[in-house]
Symmetry: C2
Subunit: 185 residues, 2 copies
C-alpha cells in the first residue's frame, strides 16, 4: 500500500548547500540552498531566485563556492538560510562563521564546513538556473583519512528533509558502489 | 589546513536515483543515477547520456519515476546501475525488484523502494538535461508515522559517496530547519 502526497518538491537525500560569495564591498556572504545538484561532469547547478544578494554577487564576480553543511554547525547553517544578506550584511560574523579566499575563484570558502566546491559561473541557463564549473574541491584536514582521502565518516555532513523540515546527518557505510550489484550479476 | 582535490564531480550528500520507465514492449526498466536534483518548484532534473535505454524510454513515454534507493535494497540498487537495460532487458526481474504502474504517469513505481517521485517529462533543456514535472510523490505505508506523514527515520534512504564509491545511509535527526537558526537571530 502506497500513500499519495501530491505534487511536492521533495528529494532524498537533499543537500544543504551553503553558497558563499563576495559582495560588491568585498564582504563575504552566504546562504543556505537545498535546490541544486550535479548538472553534468564537473558542473553543479543552483536554483536561486533573482532577489538574493547571493545571486547578484554570482552574476558580478562570476564565482561562488558550495560548502556542505555539517552537524556541528547546523545552527549557523540554518541561520544563514533564514536571514537575508540584503537585511543583515554581516550575517556570517553573527553566525560565527569564518572565511578564507579560494585560491581558484573569486569567492570565499567557509572555514567551519568540511568540504567545498569552488566554482566559476558557467552560465545562467534558459530556465534561470545557475550552472557552475567546479574548478576545485577542497576539504579540511580534519575530514581526511591517513592516506589523505576524504573520509565522509568524519565529515558528518547533513541533509535537508523537505518532508518534515528537519536536518539529518549522513550516517554509516552500507554498501560499495559498482561492486555490491555484482552479487546478482 | 585544507587539501585541494582538483576538479571533481562531487556533491554531499548525493542521491541514489533509481529512474524507472517502460520500454517500447511495455516492460519496466530502471537505472541508477547520481547526477540529478531539484531543478525548480515541483521539478526534478536528471543528467543522463543518450545511449541509456532509460533516456529513449523517457523520450517516448514522456514519463519516468525517481525511486530513492534504501539500505535494505542496496544490492539491487547497485545492480541496476552496473547492468544496462540494452544488454539485460529483464534486469528488474534478475534484481528481484517488482513494479506497479503509477496512477499518475506512464511509468512504473518500484515496490521495494520507500518513496518515489512520479514525473512527466517537462522538456530536455538546452544542455540535454532531462527536466521532469513532479506530478505526485508516493510512499510505502511502512515508512509513514502514526499521522500518515513520511518518516525518514523508517525509510533508511541511501546516498552515493562519489569520493570513495560507497553508499551511506541517511541517519538521525540533528536539527530543525527554519528554526535552529533563530537561536542566533
Amino acid at each position: 500500500m502506497r500513500k499519495n502526497f501530491g505534487k511536492k518538491t521533495w528529494l532524498f537525500p537533499c543537500p544543504v548547500l551553503i553558497v558563499a560569495t563576495y559582495g560588491a564591498d568585498g564582504k563575504p556572504n552566504a546562504m543556505n540552498a537545498a535546490w541544486g545538484g550535479i548538472y553534468d561532469t564537473n558542473q553543479v547547478m543552483l536554483c536561486l531566485s533573482d532577489d538574493h544578494a547571493t545571486t547578484r554577487n554570482i552574476l558580478r564576480t562570476k564565482a561562488f563556492t558550495v560548502n556542505f553543511a555539517d552537524a556541528p554547525n547546523v545552527v549557523a547553517a540554518d541561520y544563514v538560510g533564514i536571514v537575508s544578506g540584503n537585511d543583515v550584511p554581516d550575517k556570517l560574523d553573527r553566525a560565527h562563521l569564518h572565511t578564507e579566499r579560494s585560491g581558484f575563484v573569486d569567492a570565499p570558502v567557509i572555514t567551519e564546513f568540511p568540504v567545498a566546491l569552488e566554482c566559476e559561473l558557467a552560465k545562467v541557463n534558459e530556465d534561470g538556473i545557475i550552472v557552475g564549473n567546479i574548478v576545485n574541491v577542497s576539504a579540511d584536514a580534519r575530514v581526511l583519512d591517513a592516506d589523505g582521502n576524504l573520509d565522509l565518516g568524519k565529515a558528518r555532513i547533513i541533509s535537508y528533509n523537505s518532508a518534515a523540515h528537519d536536518y539529518r546527518v549522513l550516517g554509516e557505510k552500507v554498501g560499495n558502489a559498482f561492486s555490491d550489484g555484482k552479487k546478482i550479476k
